[in-house]
């Protein structure tokens, strides 16, 4: 599946026109222009770009890759890896000094590990040389300030506004009969939940009334996804991952146990088998109208609204039944998880570092990134202030403005994924704990084991070393709610 030539030429012409207008408006050559001009020197080479397997590579395969080749003569070769293997693949290539990748997609909370291991190329000199500082500053602050640097050095260009927000069915929430019944039962108005108690009340209310046709909610429960919901909720409810003085894990506090118990209890008003639900299952159920609420990544909000309908790349998506009724809100607690996300980095082992950087700068630039986040099949979500405010984007579907406003609010209040030295090992512990939770084990026992596992890991890494990394992370404004 690929864009045919006329479409590609049309896109190229559109981008070229936009690029022609941009410098005039700004009074200077744009970052995209600069990147294209400088990259022509490398015409004829091929850049290997590591992308998450699945839908993510549709952008470089169908849009940015062909366009970049047309503009610069540099070919883009997309190499795919499952999301949970991207760190491994990156490290393997680095340790073997294979030069297998030039441009990397890096999950921001893994950036410190990769940078400290020497797998990433520092980008400050390139940013300065190719005049990208001004456009980097225009990235939404939460991504710019937290997903770009390690110990003050730029290692990645924040490129994806991932945030977990609440999607709900307005028709059910605004139904007068439902509103009256809910008010009678709970004494407050039926509206998007602002805390987890309300979430439970509403979920149970809808399940009691409509199941098995419609359930109150269907959530991400596969441990790889659910860990982000846990990380968010644990902090929203007041939990801290570690004691700042001793670096002892406090994940097994009363808050942690209460969150585990609540997550388990909520499964009762969700569809049977929800314990196995990942992104696709929850997404399908929401589009089919089988669930009233879900919390997920931004593409759900676009595709459920019908954006991209008819696009060949999205023909696997079931026909949405909630296009006219989808509502957007921040999740309970109002501090959504900035789960995963991606930054564009240059592999330190790349044989074409400058060309790799130029491709990353071009993709990440104001005008190209605005096109990319609007690709119907894109998984890249708005991450620049201009994306949230784009009139073009806001007119894409009837309540696209609400969608972008919610994403923007999420970007302002969102919570960062835990980031430490060897983060994945700590997250692996959460994933295993969640799989034990769904397996029916006692929450307190599971979390005590997790805390012991974390403590052992911290000891091995070095308490003082890890403490510095933790404090560096926890002192960021978006690490904890307060």
């Amino acid at each position: 599946m690929s864009y045919n030539k006329p479409v590609r030429r049309g896109l190229a012409a559109g981008i070229a026109a936009a690029m022609a207008l941009w410098p005039a408006a700004a009074g200077a050559q744009s970052a995209a222009d600069i990147a294209v001009e400088a990259a022509k020197e490398y015409s004829g080479i091929t850049l290997n770009v590591l992308y998450e397997a699945g839908l993510q590579p549709l952008d470089p395969k169908n849009f940015t890759g062909p366009l970049w080749e047309e503009l610069t003569g540099i070919k883009i070769n997309v190499i795919e890896a499952p999301v949970d293997q991207m760190f491994t693949r990156t490290m393997q290539a680095h340790l073997a000094d294979s030069g297998a990748y030039d441009v990397l997609n890096v999950i921001p909370n893994q950036m410190p590990d990769l940078a400290l291991a020497g797998a990433l190329e520092p980008l400050d000199a390139y940013v300065e040389k190719f005049g990208f500082s001004a456009e980097l500053d225009m990235i939404a602050p939460v991504y710019r300030d937290n997903q770009m640097r390690v110990e003050g050095t730029i290692y990645g260009l924040p490129d994806d506004g991932d945030v977990l927000i609440l999607y709900y069915r307005r028709d059910l929430f605004e139904d007068p009969e439902n509103q009256a019944e809910f008010m009678d039962k709970h004494g407050y108005a039926l509206a998007p939940p602002t805390n987890w108690e309300q979430f439970s009340d509403i979920g149970q209310f809808i399940t009691d009334k409509y199941a098995p046709e419609i359930y109150g909610a269907g959530m991400l429960r596969q441990p790889g996804n659910a860990q982000y919901l846990f990380q968010e909720r644990f902090r929203v409810e007041g939990g801290k991952f570690f004691d700042e003085q001793t670096m002892k894990a406090t994940i097994n506090s009363d808050v942690g146990v209460a969150v585990f118990q609540a997550m388990l209890a909520e499964n009762d008003f969700m569809p049977p088998g929800v314990e196995q639900w990942g992104f696709i299952e929850a997404f399908n159920a929401f589009l089919a109208g089988d669930i009233a609420m879900t919390i997920s990544w931004p593409p759900v909000g676009r595709w459920a609204a019908g954006y991209g309908r008819g696009t060949e790349a999205l023909n696997w998506i079931p026909e949405t039944t909630v296009a006219d009724t989808i509502g957007y809100a921040l999740p309970p607690g109002g501090r959504p998880e900035l789960a995963v996300g991606y930054s564009l980095s240059v592999a330190s082992g790349s044989r074409n570092k400058e060309a790799a950087y130029l491709f990353a700068q071009w993709m990440n630039s104001e005008e190209i990134s605005l096109q990319r986040v609007q690709l119907p099949y894109a998984l890249r979500d708005p991450f620049r202030t201009s994306h949230f405010e784009s009139e073009e984007y806001r007119s894409r579907w009837p309540n696209a403005g609400d969608y972008l406003d919610t994403l923007k609010a999420g970007a302002e209040t969102g919570l960062l994924d835990l980031s430490l030295i060897q983060t994945d090992r700590y997250e692996e512990g959460i994933r295993q704990a969640l799989s034990r939770l769904w397996g029916g084990e006692d929450p307190q026992t599971i979390l005590d084991d997790l805390a012991a596992q974390w403590d052992e890991l911290t000891e091995r890494i070095g308490v003082d070393k890890q403490k510095r990394a933790y404090l560096d992370w926890s002192n960021k404004p978006n690490a904890y709610p307060n």
Binding site: F87, T88, M91, Q92, L95, D113, L116, A117, G118, P223, P272, G273, E275, Q276, E281, Q422, D424, R425, E428, Q432, A433, S435, R436, W438, G439, G440, E441, I446
Partner: protein
């Protein structure tokens, strides 16, 4: 004359060694070198943050002793091998006995039975994961039809069901291997001995114990050794179905070593784990071979 014969014999010996030497060299190169490298790495300190190639003694081996997750993974591996191997052997034997008889479409049926063996284990795992899927899997649907109501069995999540689920996948894929080997062995049992035993009035169990088993034993031992080693290294099918979960309940030694080496990049520690596995397997194989010698 005697001197001439001795000289020839000596030359023959030299020639024999000369002819074998290249093969030995290649085997040493591809077998011994990685082993030595593994042993060396296990006493160094290579992690994701760098390679300290200086000698660190037995620090990683000391860590092995106190690593509960390792011993749990080792126990899971031994348990899995001990359960799966006899099941595959017995089912394979029974199938082989069945197919010793002249059945209609015998060749076609044998080819169909062998199909799982030619599938990659990772595909077998993925297939069984789908078969056991709670929503769309045919297994739950079938059970639902039989008992007359929908069932929501979480095969790969429920701690008490996850091992049986993995075992079914493993046995489904590798019983045909046992079947094939045993069918070949049984086909070669001396008919005259069987007939003589029958004429002498020996019962079925006595015929099996005194005639069939000794005849097929060398093949059975080889088959058990091959499958035993495979089961001890099991990775793909479990990884695809459960990734070692829930928690670490289905984590085997290979999965744990993989996690340490390629997710945590504790290269030296995972080398120590691998070295431990090699030692354990070598002992097991030597004991098994020794027992076979004694049996002979």
């Amino acid at each position: 004359m005697t001197a001439r014969v001795n000289e020839l014999a000596d030359n023959t010996t030299v020639l024999k060694y000369a002819l074998v030497a290249p093969a030995v060299f290649v085997i040493l190169l591809i077998g011994l070198y990685p082993f030595v490298q593994l042993a060396l790495t296990s006493v160094q300190n290579v992690t994701m943050f760098g390679a300290d190639n200086s000698f660190h003694g037995a620090v990683h081996y000391e860590r092995l002793l106190g690593d509960e997750r390792l011993w749990s993974a080792l126990w899971n591996t031994i348990w899995f091998t001990a359960v799966a191997l006899p099941i595959e052997l017995v089912l394979g034997y029974l199938l082989a006995l069945l197919f010793l008889q002249p059945l209609p479409l015998r060749r076609t049926l044998i080819a169909i039975i062998l199909l799982p063996t030619v599938i990659s284990p990772i595909v077998a795992g993925a297939t069984w994961r789908l078969m056991l899927d709670q929503r769309f899997g045919p297994v739950n649907q079938l059970i639902g039809w039989i008992i007359g109501r929908d069932v929501e069995i979480l095969w790969t999540i429920n701690p008490s069901l996850v091992w049986p689920a993995v075992l079914v996948a493993e046995v489904w894929q590798w019983t045909p291997f046992m079947f094939l080997i045993l069918l070949a062995a049984l086909s070669n049992v001396d008919r005259e001995q069987l007939e003589a035993a029958e004429v002498d009035g020996a019962g079925a169990w006595t015929v099996f114990r005194k005639v069939v088993l000794p005849a097929i034993m060398p093949v059975v031992v080889i088959a058990v050794l091959i499958r035993g080693l495979d089961l001890f290294r099991v990775f793909d099918v479990i990884w695809t179905m459960t990734q070692g979960g829930p928690g670490t309940r289905t984590e085997t030694i290979s999965i744990y070593a993989y996690q340490m080496a390629f997710r945590e990049f504790e290269i030296s520690y995972s080398a120590a784990i691998a070295f431990l596995v090699i030692v354990l397997l070598t002992i097991a194989v030597l004991v098994a071979l020794r027992r076979v010698e004694i049996a002979r």
